[in-house]
C-alpha cells in the first residue's frame, strides 16, 4: 500500500523489539468482543490511485461547474477569478502540511502570514484588530453575537432582516442553548431594509444589533445611525460582510462605527468549493480584543532581539481555560486565510479598487439588461455586485429551467425562505468579473424565453 512505508520485515523486527508475538498483542486492551476479526465486511479493499481518480472524475462530471457556464449565483458565496499563483503557493508542503504554529521558532512562515492577514482584514473592515480566522462567515457571526453578550453582559440581539437566512439559522441554533434572545424578521422586496425597525428596537437590554452590509438582497445602507443609537444604549453594532470585494468600493463598516465586523472571506483566494472550506473574518475595536474568540498572532522578539511572531493571548483559549474559554474553536481555517491573504496581496489597494469597479460596472450593465425583460423589475435602489429582481412568477422553477438551458441564473428567494410566499418571486443575481457581456446576454435571452 502506497502510503505505508513499513515492510513486513520491518514489522517483524519491530515486534521483536517490543517483545510482542503479533500485532494482536498490542490490542489486548480492547475487549475481545469489540475486536473485528478482519477487514470490515462489505466494504471494498484498497484501490489504485488511477481507479480512485477515475471514480472522482466520473462524479465531478455530474456537476455543472461554475466556470463552464454563465454563472450568477451569490448570496454568501461568490465566484471570482483566483490568480493561479495563489493555489501554487498554498500547495507548498511547508504551508500545506504544517500544523498550527505551536512551536514558533519553526513556524514563522505561518505566523508572519497570519500577522499580515490580520492587518489586511483589519484595514479592509476599518477596524483596529482582527483575528487569525474563523471557520466561515456564519460561525463568525454567531461568535460575534456571543462576544457582544460577554462584553455587555446582555442577551438580546437584534438581527436585521437583511442578514443571510442561514446566518440567522446558525445564530438561532446556538441561541437556543446559550439562552440568547434573538429579534429577527423576514426581509421585504423593497428598496430599503428594516433599519427603522432596528432603531426602534434598540434599548437598554440590547447586547447588539447585527446588520449585513451589503445585505442579502444586495442593498447598501449607511450604518452610522444604527451605530449611534446602539452606542447610546450601551449596545454594540456588529456588521456582517459576505462579499469582501465590495469594500474596495464602499465604506468600511468600521468607518461607520461598527464595533465588531465579521465576514466571509471566500471571495478572495478560496473559491466556491460547494460551501466549504471557507474562511471567517473577524475584526473589532482594540478595546474588545481580550473578548475576541479565535487565535491571534502577535509580534514579539526572540532571544537575540530579532522580530518574530507567536500565537498570543491564548489564555482566552480552550486549551488553557477549558470551560472558561471565549470559544470552543480550535482548528480554524489557516490555509484559506493564507489563500485570502495572497490574493489580497496580489490585488493591493489598486487591484482591489479596480476589481470592485469591474464588478459594479458589470452588475449595473446586467441589471439594466435584465430589467428590459417584460415583467422583470429591479428591487434595489443601491447595490454593489448583487441585486434582487422581482419576476412575474415564482423564481425557483425559473432557476431550474435556466439550469436546463445551461445557465446558472441566480438564487431564488424561495430556496432561502421556503415558507415565505411573499418572497417567492424574488431572484438574487450576482455579477462578478467572471461574467462576460456575452454571459449576461445569454442569461437575459434564456430568462426572457422562460418567462414568455
Amino acid at each position: 500500500m502506497r502510503y505505508l512505508p513499513l515492510t513486513n520485515t520491518d514489522r517483524q523486527a519491530m515486534l521483536a523489539v517490543i517483545g510482542a508475538k503479533s500485532i494482536d498483542d498490542l490490542f489486548v486492551d480492547v475487549p475481545a468482543e469489540a475486536q473485528l476479526a478482519g477487514p470490515i465486511a462489505g466494504l471494498p479493499n484498497h484501490a489504485s490511485e488511477m481507479a480512485v481518480e477515475r471514480h472522482f472524475s466520473d462524479l465531478a462530471r455530474k456537476n455543472m461547474a461554475a466556470s463552464h457556464h454563465p454563472f450568477f449565483l451569490g448570496c454568501g458565496a461568490y465566484k471570482h477569478h483566483v490568480p493561479a499563483s495563489v493555489d501554487h503557493i498554498i500547495q507548498r508542503g511547508e504551508f500545506l502540511t504544517a500544523y498550527t504554529p505551536y512551536q514558533p521558532e519553526i513556524a514563522q512562515g505561518t505566523l508572519q502570514m497570519l500577522f499580515e492577514f490580520q492587518t489586511q482584514v483589519a484595514r479592509l473592515f476599518g477596524c483596529d484588530v482582527a483575528n487569525a480566522s474563523m471557520y466561515d462567515g456564519s460561525t463568525a457571526c454567531w461568535e460575534a453575537i456571543g462576544m457582544a453578550g460577554r462584553i455587555t453582559k446582555r442577551h438580546k440581539a437584534i438581527l436585521s432582516s437583511g442578514l443571510h437566512p442561514h446566518y440567522v439559522s446558525v445564530a438561532r441554533t446556538m441561541a437556543k442553548y446559550t439562552g440568547d434572545n434573538l429579534d429577527t424578521a423576514l426581509p421585504e422586496l423593497s428598496p430599503t431594509s428594516d433599519s427603522a425597525r432596528l432603531l426602534d428596537a434598540i434599548d437598554g437590554e440590547t447586547s447588539c444589533v447585527v446588520v449585513q452590509y451589503p445585505d442579502i438582497l444586495g442593498r447598501i445602507e449607511d450604518l452610522s445611525a444604527i451605530a449611534a443609537k446602539a452606542h447610546e444604549h450601551g449596545a454594540l453594532l456588529i456588521a456582517v460582510v459576505t462579499e469582501p470585494v465590495a469594500l474596495g468600493a464602499i465604506k468600511a463598516p468600521g468607518e461607520m462605527g461598527a464595533d465588531i465586523v465579521v465576514g466571509e472571506g471566500q471571495s478572495l483566494g478560496v473559491g466556491l468549493q460547494f460551501g466549504g472550506p471557507y474562511v471567517g473574518l473577524f475584526a473589532c475595536k482594540e478595546k474588545f480584543v481580550r473578548q475576541m474568540p479565535g487565535r491571534l498572532c502577535g509580534e514579539t522578539v526572540d532571544a537575540e532581539g530579532k522580530r518574530g511572531f507567536v500565537l498570543t493571548l491564548s489564555t482566552r483559549e480552550q486549551h488553557i481555560r477549558r470551560e472558561k474559554a471565549t470559544s470552543n474553536i480550535c482548528t480554524n481555517s489557516g490555509l484559506c486565510a493564507l489563500a485570502f491573504s495572497i490574493h489580497m496581496t496580489l490585488l493591493g489597494e489598486k487591484g482591489l479598487r479596480g476589481l470592485a469597479q469591474v464588478n459594479h460596472a458589470l452588475a449595473v450593465q446586467a441589471a439594466d439588461r435584465l430589467t428590459q425583460i417584460p415583467g422583470v423589475e429591479l428591487v434595489n435602489d443601491s447595490f454593489f455586485n448583487e441585486f434582487t429582481l422581482r419576476l412575474p412568477k415564482e423564481a425557483r422553477p425559473v432557476v431550474r429551467a435556466l439550469a436546463d438551458k445551461k445557465v446558472l441564473g441566480g438564487v431564488s428567494l424561495g430556496r432561502l425562505y421556503p415558507k415565505a410566499t411573499e418572497l417567492e418571486n424574488g431572484l438574487v443575481v450576482a455579477v462578478t468579473e467572471t461574467s462576460s457581456a456575452e454571459d449576461i446576454e445569454t442569461f437575459a435571452t434564456a430568462l426572457q424565453e422562460i418567462l414568455s
Binding site: 456537476n63 502540511t97 500577522f115 484595514r123
Partner: protein
C-alpha cells in the same frame, strides 16, 4: 535575508493582477463610496511568489520531516487527494446551485457518510461540523436536544481529567456545568468514581478513547452501559480514531456520538491551522436530533438535500443549522479519496502500523525516559513520557527545543495534564522504521543532555529560523496588526 512584511515591501500603487476593461457606469452604491485610503499594499506576481515562498521556508512541515505531535496525527497527506479536491466539478460549484446540477458533489458527501457509518458501526452521521471542536458542539447539542425532547433537562457533563481542552469548553458553551472524573494510576478513567457520580442530573460523559495517555479505555463498554442505565449519553472524542480504525467500531462500545477529525484519521492536510472537518457519527438514539442540511440518496440513485424546506417532514427533531452551507466539501473529497485508496484492508493496516510504531517508540525509549504508564500495557497510537529524571532546572520545553536542533518537530508537550511535564509522541503509520530509529537516537541524545545538565540545551534552538521567542512580551502588550513606524507617520 530576512523576509520583510508585505506592508514594508508593497505599495498601494502596485498590483499583481490585470483586470478586464469595462465601460463606465453611473455608480449605484447608495452614496457610500469608500473615499479614504484603505492602506492595502500590493505586490507584483514575482514579488508575491517570492515573498510567500521565502516565508514558507521558515516553516517545519510533515513534508520535511518527522512531526510526532501527540494527539494531532500528523501523517502524510497524499497528493492524489489534493488533485481530486481541485476538480472543477467539486471546487467550482456553488452551494446554492439547484440540486440537479450538483449530483456528483452530493454523491461524494453521501458516499463518505456511508463509509463513516460503516467504519464506526453507528446509525447516522452529521457531516456539516467544520472541525473537531465544532463536532463536539454538534454532539453535545444533539444530547441536549434529546434530553429536551424527553423533557429531562439535565445539567451536568462529566469529563475525565485527561480530556482535550475543547471538551469542557464545548460543554460549558452549551450551558452545561462540567465536572471532572479522576483517572486511575493506570491512566484510565476510574470506572467506580464515574459510576458513583452518575445520577439524574448527569446528561452524559465526554470521553476520549483511545485516551490522551495513549491508552485504550478497557472499560468503555461498561462506562457506556452505566451511563445509559443512568439515563445519560456517551460522547466520545474521536480525535484518536486513527489507532483503532478498521479494528474496533465505536458503535460496538455503546457510544452515542463521536466526532471524526477528517484532518487527522483521514489525512486532510492541517494547513498550518486548518481547515479541518469534524463529522459526527451518532447512535440511533441521537440521530434524529442531528443538524441540517444533509444528503439523502433515493432508490433511483438521485440525491437530494434535506434543508429548511423539507425538514418538517424529513427530520422534524433537528436541532438546526450549524453553518451556512453543507460542511467542508474540500475535506470530504480528500477524505473519501484517502479512504477509497486504503479500503477496508488498508485502513485496518493503518491502525496496526500506527500502534506498532508507537509501541516501538515506547519500548525503545522507556529505558531512557520516564514512561509513567508503560506498565499499563501496550500503548495505542501514541506514547507518553514525563520529565522525571531530568537535571535540576531542565524541563520538557528544553527537550522540545533541543529536538528542533536535531531536525525534528517536537512532540506534544505539557499535555495531557495528568502527567508532569508530559511528552506525548505520536508517530503515525506513515513513518518508516528508519525514521523512527533516527528519531529514537536523537531523542536519547537530547534526553542525555538534559539529564547531564548541558547548558547549551537551555538556549536551544540554535539552528532554527528564530531563537526562543518572548511570549510574555507578546501577551503583555499585544501587537496584532502592523503599524507604520512612528517617524514615517510623523513625516507625512
Amino acid at each position: 535575508l530576512e523576509e520583510a512584511l508585505i506592508f514594508e515591501i508593497g505599495t498601494t500603487d502596485t498590483t499583481g493582477v490585470d483586470l478586464p476593461e469595462v465601460g463606465n457606469v453611473t455608480s449605484r452604491l447608495g452614496g457610500l463610496e469608500r473615499n479614504r485610503t484603505i492602506g492595502m499594499p500590493g505586490l507584483s506576481e514575482p514579488e508575491t511568489v517570492r515573498h510567500y515562498t521565502r516565508l514558507s521556508r521558515q516553516n517545519y512541515a510533515i513534508d520535511l520531516g518527522f512531526f510526532p505531535l501527540g494527539s494531532c496525527t500528523m501523517k502524510h497527506n497524499p497528493r492524489l487527494n489534493e488533485k481530486v479536491a481541485r476538480m472543477a466539478g467539486f471546487a467550482d460549484v456553488h452551494p446554492l446551485q439547484p440540486v440537479e446540477t450538483v449530483q456528483g458533489a452530493l454523491a461524494v458527501i453521501n458516499e463518505l457518510a456511508v463509509w463513516l457509518i460503516e467504519l464506526t458501526g453507528m446509525h447516522g452521521v452529521a457531516m456539516t461540523p467544520k472541525a473537531g471542536a465544532h463536532g463536539e458542539l454538534c454532539g453535545i447539542l444533539a444530547i441536549k436536544a434529546a434530553l429536551e425532547a424527553r423533557g429531562d433537562p439535565r445539567s451536568v457533563i462529566l469529563v475525565p481529567e485527561s480530556a482535550h481542552g475543547t471538551n469542557p469548553a464545548t460543554a460549558a458553551f452549551a450551558g452545561f456545568s462540567v465536572e471532572n472524573i479522576p483517572a486511575t494510576s493506570e491512566g484510565r478513567v476510574d470506572l467506580d468514581a464515574l459510576k458513583a457520580r452518575l445520577g439524574p442530573d448527569v446528561a452524559g460523559v465526554m470521553i476520549t478513547n483511545p485516551n490522551t495517555c495513549g491508552l485504550f479505555e478497557r472499560d468503555m463498554k461498561a462506562i457506556s452501559d452505566a451511563v445509559h442505565a443512568a439515563g445519560g449519553y456517551v460522547y466520545c472524542d474521536g480525535a484518536n480514531f486513527n489507532a483503532i480504525v478498521g479494528r474496533v467500531r465505536p458503535g460496538d462500545l455503546g457510544i452515542d456520538a463521536m466526532h471524526i477529525n477528517l484532518h487527522k484519521t483521514f489525512s486532510t492536510p492541517h494547513g498550518g491551522g486548518g481547515p479541518g472537518s469534524g463529522p459526527v457519527v451518532m447512535s440511533k438514539a441521537l440521530s434524529p436530533y442531528g443538524p441540517l442540511p444533509f444528503t439523502e440518496r433515493h432508490a433511483d440513485g438521485r440525491y437530494s438535500l434535506v434543508e429548511e424546506e423539507t425538514v418538517g417532514e424529513r427530520h422534524p427533531h433537528s436541532f438546526g443549522r450549524m453553518t451556512a452551507f453543507h460542511g467542508q466539501m474540500g475535506m470530504f473529497t480528500r477524505a473519501l479519496s484517502y479512504i477509497m485508496s486504503h479500503g477496508a484492508d488498508g485502513l485496518r493496516q493503518v491502525a496496526e502500523d500506527a500502534v506498532l510504531n508507537a509501541n516501538y517508540i515506547l519500548r525503545s525509549l522507556e529505558g531512557t525516559m520516564d514512561a509513567p504508564f508503560a506498565h499499563s500495557g501496550p500503548c495505542m497510537h501514541e506514547a507518553l513520557f514525563s520529565d522525571s529524571g531530568l537535571a535540576e532546572g531542565f524541563t520538557t520545553l528544553d527537550i522540545a527545543k533541543g529536538l528542533i536542533d536535531e531536525g525534528y518537530h517536537p512532540m506534544t508537550v505539557y499535555f495531557p495534564l495528568v502527567v508532569h511535564g508530559a511528552m506525548l509522541i505520536e508517530p503515525t503509520e506513515t513513518e518508516s522504521k528508519a525514521t523512527l530509529d533516527q528519531f529514537i537516537g536523537a531523542m536519547r541524545s537530547v534526553v542525555q543532555r538534559a539529564k547531564a545538565g548541558d547548558p547549551s540545551l537551555k538556549s536551544a534552538p540554535h539552528h532554527a529560523p528564530r531563537r526562543r521567542l518572548d511570549e510574555t512580551l507578546a501577551a503583555r502588550k499585544p501587537m496584532l496588526v502592523w503599524h507604520e513606524p512612528e517617524e514615517a507617520v510623523a513625516a507625512e
